[in-house]
């Protein structure tokens, strides 16, 4: 095959899509990410197809033939999950939120037929109550800078033609046909792109290492094992724009000389698995992958592998062990995977978001890429904004944006336990999940980038941002993460395996009121030992949440230990039981059971607990037959 005929085929596919959509005058996009599907998006999609036809309008649901009238399509995650299902009407630019199948008829009649807006389905800003007609008016979207996520939520992720129509695979073609492997590596190096999976290692450097390794067989692996609880950036990219990941892998393969690749996806993300599988199939069917990539004679083949539920497999050497059919345990570096990876061959492992960024770097060039972000951390970063924040969802901002911008402007402010926005409710943000640390009031104006976060004991990590309000107990948050890492420790290194277990036991002592001054001392000594004595990132970063909460919220630990009090009233063992006098029958059972004789009262009259004597054992709560004693 000559280059010209292959070159034609990309344009031909794009043109074919152009022809099929030439008579499409309107587009209704239903978000079909995990969140919206859970809320019934697929039924909404079905209802649109039916109701539009019932209204006597032309409707196209798939583009098997030529589409006409209104095209009803599905998209990947639009990032605004709590407002789902989301429906976008183009070119009107209207975004409807929380759409139920029952609302569809009204949308068809009002918007599609009469060209008016259904006011009641518009998004209302949590502050000020302003109604927003579309994305441009919604602060959550307006203040973001979406580049990697630009097409997520717009294109149909299961239609390769639409991706190509929007310029997809042109970067891969450029890399394969107009650039030498060395030029591709250099472009990446100049762009300063750093790995989005957590470590922030320069992608170009990784590629250069693998490119220089002498071997005929090399592998490219996409790390989609997004295990950080509270993060879903990679899920959204794989669901919303899977071809961008495949294209990034193709460019990486070109740079290092790989002819085989694996996409390793968490099995907890069934929709992402499905879409990535389809993307690989479609790219192979279109001839983009196969024995003769872009007519260069180079071969490239990709496989998809599902993870089996092990957080440690996000570590690259553990991931390789898992692909090889072993327990996912890390091995010492060096040798680095770039020198000796899968089956002992040079292997590059890149994170999903990193790979999805690569085509943009090749398309626009390193200089353009560097214009966004900070000098040390160029480009944009996606974050999963969750927890006690008005707008939870997926966001993308340039590196260097401040926490204040993210939480208060894009996030719409801190919310209470019922989701209501409260002023002055901000306490902390946990960044980087179980490996990261917490940021507090004093960090609100800190630039979010790889280097400045490191200076305050936190890390970008994969990009999970969990906002916590004033009613959150930081000790129990630290305990939550410690339980997670303890559970996920693979057991290879003694300090990680046993150290995390002991740290968890010490934290249990603190939250259950058994802590002493020695507990805190031991906790921080052990934390530093685990950091030093562990082989991989999991153990090295596991003490992060404990150390950073000890650093910024020491007073809270001390209240638990010395005053046996949980300032946020979250730790049950430290919250004295209360007697609800309206429910208390005065049966005296609790007084008899109380080991500290802290309960007094006359028979058949409401009893009372003397807080000074109470040891908070909970015996009274268990004894009461009327549910009159609560914590």
């Amino acid at each position: 095959m000559t280059q010209a005929t292959v070159a034609l085929s990309l344009e031909a596919l794009a043109q074919e899509y152009e022809l099929r959509t030439a008579k499409v005058t309107r587009r209704v996009i239903i978000c079909a990410g995990t969140g919206c599907v859970a809320n019934g998006a697929l039924k909404v999609h079905e209802a649109f197809a039916q109701k539009i036809a019932a209204a006597g309008l032309a409707v196209a649901v798939n583009l098997e033939g030529e589409g006409e009238g209104t095209l009803v399509s599905r998209s990947g995650c639009q990032g605004f999950c709590q407002m789902g299902p989301l429906v976008t009407v183009l070119p009107d630019g209207i975004l409807y939120t929380k759409v139920k199948p029952a609302d569809v008829d009204e949308i068809v009649q009002t918007t599609l037929v009469q060209g008016k807006t259904v006011e009641r389905l518009l998004y209302v800003e949590p502050r000020g109550g302003r109604k927003c007609r579309g994305c441009e008016e919604i602060t959550f979207y307006k203040r973001q800078q979406r580049t990697v996520l630009k097409d997520c939520g717009l294109i149909d992720p299961e239609d390769i033609r639409e991706y190509i129509h929007r310029g997809g695979y042109f970067s891969a073609r450029k890399a394969w046909t107009q650039m030498s492997p060395r030029a591709v590596c250099e472009e990446l190096l100049h762009s300063g792109l750093r790995g989005r999976g957590g470590g922030g290692f320069p992608t170009g450097r990784k590629w250069e290492l693998a490119a220089a390794a002498p071997s005929l067989k090399k592998y490219i692996i996409c790390n989609g094992d997004e295990g950080d609880p509270g993060a879903f950036m990679d899920r959204s990219v794989m669901e919303g724009n899977p071809h961008s990941v495949i294209e990034g892998m193709m460019i990486a393969a070109r740079a290092i000389g790989a002819d085989e690749g694996y996409v390793y996806v968490r099995a907890e993300y069934p929709l992402a698995v499905k879409r990535i599988r389809k993307a690989v199939q479609d790219a192979t069917a279109a001839g983009l992958l196969g024995p003769n990539v872009f007519g260069t004679g180079g071969a490239l083949e990709f496989h998809v592998m599902e993870g089996a539920g092990a957080f440690v497999c996000g570590e690259e050497t553990a991931l390789i062990a898992s692909v090889e059919g072993h327990r996912g345990m890390p091995s010492p570096k060096p040798p680095f995977p770039a020198q000796s990876g899968l089956w002992g061959k040079p292997t590059v492992i890149n994170n999903v978001e990193t790979l999805a960024t690569v085509p943009l770097v090749i398309r626009d060039g390193a200089a353009a890429f560097r214009k966004v972000g900070t000098a040390g951390s160029p480009g944009t970063k996606t974050f999963a904004l969750t927890g006690h924040v008005a707008n939870t969802g997926l966001i993308e901002v340039p590196f260097g944006a401040t926490l204040r911008e993210v939480v208060f402007n894009i996030g719409g402010g801190v919310s209470d336990d019922n989701g209501k926005v409260i002023d002055d409710g901000f306490k902390a943000v946990q960044i980087g999940g179980p490996s990261g640390g917490c940021l507090t009031n004093e960090h609100l104006d800190l630039s979010l980038d790889f280097d400045s976060l490191k200076t305050v004991g936190a890390m970008v990590g994969s990009g999970g941002l969990v906002v916590m309000n004033k009613h959150t107990c930081m000790v129990s948050v630290a305990r939550f993460f410690m339980r997670f890492t303890q559970n996920e420790s693979c057991g290879k290194c003694v300090l990680c395996r046993e150290g995390t277990k002991q740290m968890l036991a010490l934290l249990d002592d603190v939250v259950e009121g058994r802590g002493t001054a020695e507990t805190l001392e031991l906790l921080s000594t052990l934390a530093r030992a685990v950091q030093k004595g562990s082989l991989c990132g999991l153990g090295k970063t596991a003490p992060g949440p404990v150390l950073s909460t000890l650093r910024y919220f020491r007073a809270e630990y001390e209240a638990h230990v010395f005053q046996k009090r949980c300032p946020a009233s979250r730790c049950k063992a430290l919250c004295p039981p209360r007697i609800l006098s309206e429910k208390c029958k005065g049966c005296t059972l609790c007084a008899k059971k109380c080991p500290a004789s802290a309960i007094t009262g006359e028979p058949r009259k409401p009893h009372a607990i003397d807080a000074a004597l109470c040891v908070k054992c909970g015996a009274c709560v268990a004894a009461c037959k009327f549910g009159a004693i609560v914590r």
Binding site: N39, F80, Q82, A308, V466
Partner: protein
């Protein structure tokens, strides 16, 4: 629907696993996908099947057992007909997933150690982050994701399933 636990005879059991092994060219490197397929078929990893897989792949049984016990998705215990998975990710945790889990376990008489009901109808497990953090707290029952759960809402989902099971038995 997959095979009912303990239902088919041993011969049929091994027939299925042979098909799975053949589909993966009896390649020891495909051990994880093979075990995933076995678990999908049998709903858990029966011990005799693990031994069979080890023999067919010419691997030591310890290696297969090691992999089967390493990954959280694999279970060596039979699971109930309905699998209820409570997300225990950070976002769900700060939005109070613990009381929801407690309510589910209380309703079914289960605990952290006891995951499956004696009648084999329900298994309640926790799972680390399903990535649906915008809907926290999240419960997945079989394949359906239910977001913004409260203890009451979660229990009523169980009641619905129980009523359906009761109905099908009559």
């Amino acid at each position: 629907m997959t095979t009912v636990v303990g239902g088919p005879g041993l011969a049929r059991k091994f027939e299925k696993v042979c098909q799975i092994l053949d589909r993966h060219q009896r390649n020891p490197a495909k051990l994880v996908p093979i075990l995933q397929a076995v678990q999908e078929e049998y709903r858990y990893l029966p011990e005799e099947i693990l031994t069979y897989v080890a023999t067919s792949l010419e691997l030591p049984p310890a290696r297969v057992y090691g992999v089967a016990t390493f990954y959280a998705h694999f279970t060596l215990q039979p699971r109930g007909k309905h699998v209820v998975r409570m997300c225990d990710g950070t976002a769900c945790h700060v939005r109070k997933s613990a009381p929801v889990l407690e309510a589910l376990r209380n309703r079914l008489g289960l605990s952290e150690e006891k995951k499956t009901t004696p009648d084999m109808l329900f298994t309640v497990e926790t799972v680390s982050c399903l990535g649906a953090c915008g809907l926290a707290p999240v419960v997945v029952i079989d394949e359906d994701v239910h977001g913004q759960m409260t203890p009451e809402a979660a229990v009523s989902l169980i009641e619905d399933l129980l009523a359906k099971e009761e109905g099908s038995r009559l």
